[in-house]
């Protein structure tokens, strides 16, 4: 029986195949990307989420390469975890490699990882695979997709992409390479589905420059632009317009400063030194000479914009006359925090512009017309929509169906599903158990659903713990010690505390000398009492000494 190729989209939360893809043939494995996701609002206390790559852990010797598409966190953020477990080279383009190096520097595996710099258009071999990175446009420069010639046929993975004819760095997508792939015959296309519900064609990054030019011409005070720290091309655009209007630029926020420094060093960001000032110099300049680039466009309270909104920034105060621009799209779940910050900035007298009311952001992902172009350029036999939530994958699969790809040749699958391909067939295999792994503090995977359920209960009503001493006669001695937090404002709840003590004394008395599970009976009585008094259900525990 001939060997089959296995493709396994992995990881992520909600989005499918976003953070990692495993490609396996015989005893050879290639991994594409290793990214993180951020938790949803009800994943309490979780810092970040990494793919559950359990599948490859007993095959680590088979892993031949980790191919990276671009430098965004959701594609490289888990490398610091993954590379502790495997020993394979990372392949990435120059900017992406620079950003990865910057991140690995902060970990204990710095220096132990082999990082091979590639460029779009290269052709190289890894085991039985021939790898051809091709240039794509996205919201960070130097992004690539991969053509991977396997023993069963050519697989094309788009990475994150849009077809931007006029990107900020002047380097359009490599249409010729895609057409060449299709001439050679593409067995399977894995394509970015993020915007599968957006009709039309995503606007070029170039429209942002026009919007900024207009906005800078009108602004009389300082201009504060918040965007993603990794949106290098946006940083370039702001720098260009800043220079054009005779202002100076301060880049703030650690991640944005780090990324800008790396991108400048590697030649992906062209900002003359004279244009840049430190944030501490901004207050010494006339307001109409200052532009500030800031992190915090997703409403993160501890990032620069969040601190500015609440007046907690050490060096800068937002004032009347300032113009704040949110040059970013809210990631679902962040809307509430972002609108809160917008209101707070208005409260301080600033003018606030955002995507909803001005043309200050465009997506980095292809819309439906671009998706059609991708499919028609590549002409794959099999089609696997990836990158996006299930709803996006389904929309993308319907689009592919409308374009003539037979339904049986399209696989909409969830993370961990094994796709098996040979020259003629694609089969949807079993789904590997497990999904994603929570990272909380320094713990990886030690917080699961049970701990989260406890956190949810604590978040709703707090806890109430009583330490009770009972003598041999079955009588409470002394006053029970009570510790409670998150339940009720204790300073004003004296009656409830007194009532709880009374409940304890009576429960013990009613039990006489029967001390079997007396703590359980006290807990039951306390829970009932506290619910009757407040309508809340704190976690109740009793320790009997």
């Amino acid at each position: 029986m001939a060997e089959k190729l296995r493709i396994i989209p992995l990881g992520g939360l909600g989005e499918i195949g976003k953070n990692m893809t495993v490609i396996e043939y015989g005893e050879e494995i290639i991994i594409i990307d290793a990214g993180i996701m951020f938790p949803e609002n009800d994943m309490l206390g979780i810092d970040l989420i990494i793919p559950d790559y359990n599948y490859i852990l007993d095959k680590t010797n088979n892993i031949k390469a980790v191919l990276i598409t671009h430098g965004h966190e959701d594609h490289v953020g888990a490398l610091s975890h993954l590379m502790q477990l495997i020993d394979a080279p990372i392949y990435a383009t120059k900017l992406t490699a620079g950003l990865i190096k910057g991140k690995l520097k902060q970990t204990k595996i710095a220096g132990q990882v082999t990082l091979r710099t590639i460029k779009a258009g290269d052709v190289f071999h890894v085991g039985s695979f021939m790898i051809e990175p091709f240039h794509v446009t996205h919201s960070i420069p130097d992004g690539v997709g991969y053509g991977i010639t396997t023993p069963v046929g050519l697989i094309v993975h788009t990475g994150d992409y849009k077809f931007d004819h006029t990107p900020v760095d002047g380097w359009p997508p490599d249409f010729a390479k895609l057409a060449e792939f299709s001439q050679r015959g593409v067995l399977c296309l894995l394509a970015d589905s993020t915007n599968a519900d957006r009709p039309g064609w995503t606007q070029s990054e170039v429209v942002i420059t026009a919007a900024f030019e207009d906005l800078f011409a009108r602004a009389e005070g300082r201009i504060i632009v918040a965007t993603f720290a990794s949106l290098i091309s946006r940083i370039q655009q702001v720098a260009n317009v800043t220079a054009h209007h005779g202002r100076k630029l301060a880049i703030t926020g650690r991640s944005m400063r780090d990324n800008s420094r790396i991108a400048r060093e590697l030649g992906y960001l062209d900002i003359p030194k004279e244009l840049l000032i430190d944030i501490s110099q901004a207050n010494g300049l006339a307001a109409n000479k200052v532009v500030i680039l800031a992190t915090g466009s997703q409403g993160e309270p501890t990032a620069v914009l969040g601190r500015l909104a609440t007046g907690r920034h050490a060096k800068l105060n937002v004032e009347e006359g300032d113009t704040v621009v949110l040059s970013a799209h809210p990631i679902p779940g962040n809307e509430e925090m972002i609108y809160r910050i917008i209101n707070q900035l208005f409260q301080r007298g600033a003018e606030v512009l955002h995507e909803g009311i001005a043309n200050v952001h465009v997506s980095g992902h292809a819309s439906r017309e671009e998706m059609k172009l991708m499919i028609n350029l590549v002409k794959p036999k099999f089609f696997v929509p990836v990158h996006g939530e299930l709803r996006h994958l389904i929309a993308h699969s319907q689009l592919a169906g409308e374009m003539g790809i037979p339904e049986d040749n399209i696989a909409v699958v969830e993370n961990g599903t094994i796709l098996e391909l040979d020259e003629h067939t694609m089969e949807v295999g079993p789904r590997i158990p497990g999904g994603y792994i929570f990272v909380d503090g320094s713990g990886v995977g030690d917080v699961g659903p049970r701990v989260l359920r406890d956190r949810e209960r604590l978040a709703n009503s707090g806890f109430f713990i009583a330490v009770v001493s009972i003598d041999d006669e079955g009588t409470v001695t002394g006053r029970p010690k009570i510790i409670s937090r998150g339940f009720v404002y204790l300073d004003e709840a004296g009656d409830i505390m007194k009532g709880a003590e009374e409940v304890i004394v009576q429960t013990v008395r009613a039990s006489g000398r029967n001390r079997d599970h007396i703590y359980k009976r006290i807990e039951g009585a306390l829970s009932k009492y506290l619910y009757a008094e407040t309508g809340r259900r704190p976690m109740v525990y009793t320790i009997v000494k």
Copy 2:
């Protein structure tokens, strides 16, 4: 000195003047609306939020009337709290009064409240005020705004409105009344700002019918429509299209069933009895004969749609072939939950349509062109944007400015700000301390920022409590008892527990016989140890016996 009129927008969270407005002249007070808001995602454990109406509490005898604009929760939901404290009649139109009666029935003040039914076009007097409710169109029938002739002049409050020329109930807004007000001269307009950042004109409810007709014609299986329980006109539209396509309608979800029953009884919903089935009958009919109206359009996990998405509905399973329609707009903060439910429904094989991809919802609020029409119809001397977050109020005020209302005649204020008017001037007075009040379980106002901060810490990392016995020699006796939840999965954290016990023993030993604040020293040492082990900061307490 002549008496001034005071207008005080109150209550709500984020939105200003949304839930309550106080109008005061001398010793007479009128209240417009008494609604609730739902908490934001980081207001842990809070059930709902009511306006902080402390200002009127020592003047309850002055309150002459509570005027209600329409029957939505954010305008009537706090009546059950407010009416416990004051003794004034509620004025509401027929449908609104019916809905209020339904809600008060569930409270202890049922029967004690005077509810006066009014209708649009009425003129009545309350103390020195002449009150003229006027018909507006909104996403619930029988809505009104109020013209209030006060001793200093005519105040017009729009309530929630849009200018829908073709509403489902065939009753267009009362343009003539607004024009008449302007002829008499309007001192001040308080106007709905919800959509102040939406250009153009909000679509008429009538477009929904076309979209539903189209969708019903194509659907081959069951159709499940989720919408707001109070969106009576949407329920009417679904019923009409259901009848037109020879299907039967099941209305599910307690609030939607209650509202539909009341609206039918009062003649605001025209659904023949034969059209309706109970949800338990739905499974007995052919799939293409069934339509189900459901609650849960905001992603609430315990509402009908949430239970369907996770397979927890007792009588219904979503299956391949079903079409689910979310006929609602996500309230900011709910997007994540809504998208999760959409993905879950897709997972079950349903086709899911929502506002983002089909024309299945229109807003109930005026867009910018309607706002301009309102201002030009009413021609007020002073303008106060209300209903909306600060960002909307500012956008609305800029629009009013562009239309020629002098900047000094426009007041953008926050909740609790006292506006003082006479015939010629409007002054922004002081802001009353306080904002909104949390309701948690049966507690009103007993959970504040301190309890919420504790809940946030508990939500992030849980708690860790040690009960330690120390003998007179200063030695730990027995093993410390440890209770911990939400911190780490205890079954797999034996090492950490052992380490913590060791930390306790060593800390006590190092303290010798000095037992002053020994619990503090243990807590400090434990916190440090747990952070070093896990990178987390649970709440740590120690009880020394």
